[in-house]
Symmetry: C2
Subunit: 288 residues, 2 copies
C-alpha cells in the first residue's frame, strides 16, 4: 500500500472523519478553554537525510520540522515526545537534541527508545497551545486574499548540494532549518489560511489551493529565492520551512514577508505560476 492509499483508507474509518492531522497537517483539539495543536512527523535515514549525516543535525531537524508545523498554526510549543531508535552516534543525537530544544526553549516531555536494525527512523510528537482561535488551516484561503511568503526558498537545496558534494559551503539551511514560530504567531490572527512550505513552494501552494477550493496565482519573480539563477528549482525544492499565508486584501503582515501572489476564484487549474496553469501536482515538489 502506498502512502496516499494508506491515508485515504484511514480517512474512511467511520470514527475519524476529522483526522486531518494525517500527512502534513496538524491535529487541533479543544480542551477546557484551550485549543491544543499536535503534530507527529518522522524522519527516515536515506529518505529524509543522507546516511552519512551528522546525527546531531538529524535531531535538530526532527524537532524543527515539527515545530514548523506548530508555527503554521500560530501555536506556542508546550513540549515534545521522542520516539528514538538507538543506533550510531547516539551521543551526537543528544547534543543536537539539546541544542534545538534550548534554542526554542521547549521541554522534552518524554517518549520511548527502542533497539532496531535496518533503516533508522526517528519520530517526534510536538504539542502546542493555540495563541489565537480559530487556528488557521490550509483550507481557508478566499478569493481576493493576497499570498505572502515569510522566509525564502532554495537555501535548503543549496545546503543539501553542499553536503552531498562536500564543497564545504554552509549547509545549515538544509541541516538545521528554523521554525518560524514568532512569525507564525504574529500572522495567525490575521491569516485566512497558513501552512509551512516543507515540500516545495509550488507543491504546497497547490495543496492550499486544493484544500481551499480556490486558485492561487503566484508571481515567481516576487518569490525570495536563495539562487536567483535557478529560480524554478528553488520554487520546487522542499525543506525550507518558510510560511505561506493568505491574508485579506489590504492587511499588512506584522513581520517581514514578500507578496508573492493572489487568491482567485477556483478556475480550471488550482495553481497559476507566472500566468501558466498547473493542472496537477506531479513534479511540483517533494512528495514523501
Amino acid at each position: 500500500m502506498n502512502e496516499q492509499a494508506f491515508i485515504e483508507a484511514l480517512r474512511l474509518l467511520p470514527a475519524h472523519p476529522a483526522a486531518r492531522g494525517l500527512a502534513d497537517d496538524c491535529a487541533v483539539i479543544e480542551i477546557g478553554s484551550e485549543t491544543l495543536v499536535l503534530t507527529h512527523d518522522m524522519l527516515v535515514e536515506g529518505t529524509h537525510y543522507l546516511p552519512e549525516a551528522d546525527i546531531a543535525d538529524v535531531a535538530w531537524k526532527l524537532v524543527a520540522t515539527n515545530l514548523s508545523d506548530l508555527a503554521a498554526k500560530g501555536a506556542e510549543p508546550l513540549g515534545v515526545l521522542i520516539g528514538h531508535m538507538l543506533g550510531r552516534d547516539d551521543e551526537r543525537f543528544i547534543v543536537g537534541l539539546n541544542e534545538v530544544l534550548a534554542h526554542y526553549q521547549v521541554p522534552l516531555l518524554g517518549g520511548d527508545t527502542v533497539a532496531g536494525t535496518g533503516t533508522r527512523t526517528h519520530g517526534l510528537t510536538a504539542i502546542g497551545r493555540a495563541t489565537c482561535t480559530p487556528v488557521p488551516a490550509r483550507s481557508g484561503a478566499q478569493p481576493g486574499d493576497v499570498l505572502w511568503l515569510v522566509g525564502k526558498v532554495g537555501a535548503a537545496m543549496l545546503g543539501f548540494e553542499a553536503l552531498r558534494d562536500g564543497t564545504g559551503a554552509d549547509h545549515s539551511a538544509y541541516s538545521r532549518p528554523l521554525a518560524l514560530l514568532k512569525e507564525g504567531q504574529a500572522l495567525a490572527p490575521l491569516a485566512h489560511a497558513m501552512m509551512d512550505v516543507s515540500d516545495g513552494l509550488l507543491l504546497d501552494a497547490f495543496r492550499m489551493a486544493e484544500a481551499s477550493e480556490v486558485t492561487l496565482a503566484i508571481d515567481g519573480a516576487q518569490v525570495p529565492v536563495a539562487a536567483p539563477e535557478r529560480r524554478l528549482a528553488c520554487l520546487t525544492w522542499g525543506d525550507d520551512y518558510a510560511l505561506l499565508a493568505a491574508l485579506p486584501h489590504g492587511t499588512q503582515p506584522p513581520c517581514n514577508a514578500a507578496r508573492i501572489g493572489t487568491v482567485e476564484p477556483r478556475g480550471f487549474a488550482p495553481l497559476f505560476v507566472d500566468g501558466e496553469p498547473v493542472l496537477n501536482a506531479a513534479g511540483l515538489g517533494y512528495s514523501h
Copy 2:
C-alpha cells in the same frame, strides 16, 4: 549507546529535569485548568511482536499499550497520533487500528506515514486528560499502604506460547491486550501510587519501590495468575497490562482488585517476594 545510558543522558539535559515521561512513564503537563497526560510508545518487529504476527493485532496492541499508560494515570483518552512505517499487510493494520479505536471510542487525530526497509517500527502517541489531580505517579507509594492488583498476570505468556507453538489456543491476552481505563479512573483519586504492569509484575513493582523509596512486600500466593502451576513465570512475564496500585490502609478499591502485598519503610531491599529480598532488577522481568 544502550537504552539506559541514552535515557540517563537525556535526563541530564539542563532544560529537562522533569522529563519523567521517558521510558515507561507518562508526561503530565498543565494547561489552563486542565491537566494533560501524554505518552509515546513504540513497537518493533521481532522485539515486541513475532515477524509472522497478524499486523491487525500489532495495531491493536500499539494503541492498547499506550492507552494502558493513560489508564495508570486515571486519564481519559482524547486521541492518538500514529507514526506508521508502510509495509506488508497495511490493510490488516488499518482493520486492527479501526477495531481498537472503535473499542475504546478514541479518535485518530493524525500522524505521519513513511516508507522504510528493514526492521519495521510502529510509533504511537496518546494524549489524555486527567480525571483527577494530582495525577498518580509510580513514585507516591507510602509505608503503610496496601498493594492492589487489578487484572491478572501470566495470561499474555500463555497467549504468546500458543502463538509461538501454533497450538490454536486463545492468544488474545497477548495479541489484543486490554487497557484498564475505567479501573484506572476509579482508582486514581484514591491511589498514592499507580502504574501499569507492562514488563512483569516483579520488575514493575521493583521500579515502583525504587521510585517511591520504599520497600514493597508481595505475597506471591495472593497474585491472580493465569497459570497457577507456573506462578513465578507469571510474576515475571510482561505484556499483561494489569494495574498495580498502592492505596492507603483501609481504603477499599472501587473495582475488582486483589490485595497482593504491603508497602513498608525502605529496608535493605526494594522488594520482598514471599519474605525473600530482591536486591536488583536483573532477571525480574522484561527490560526493553
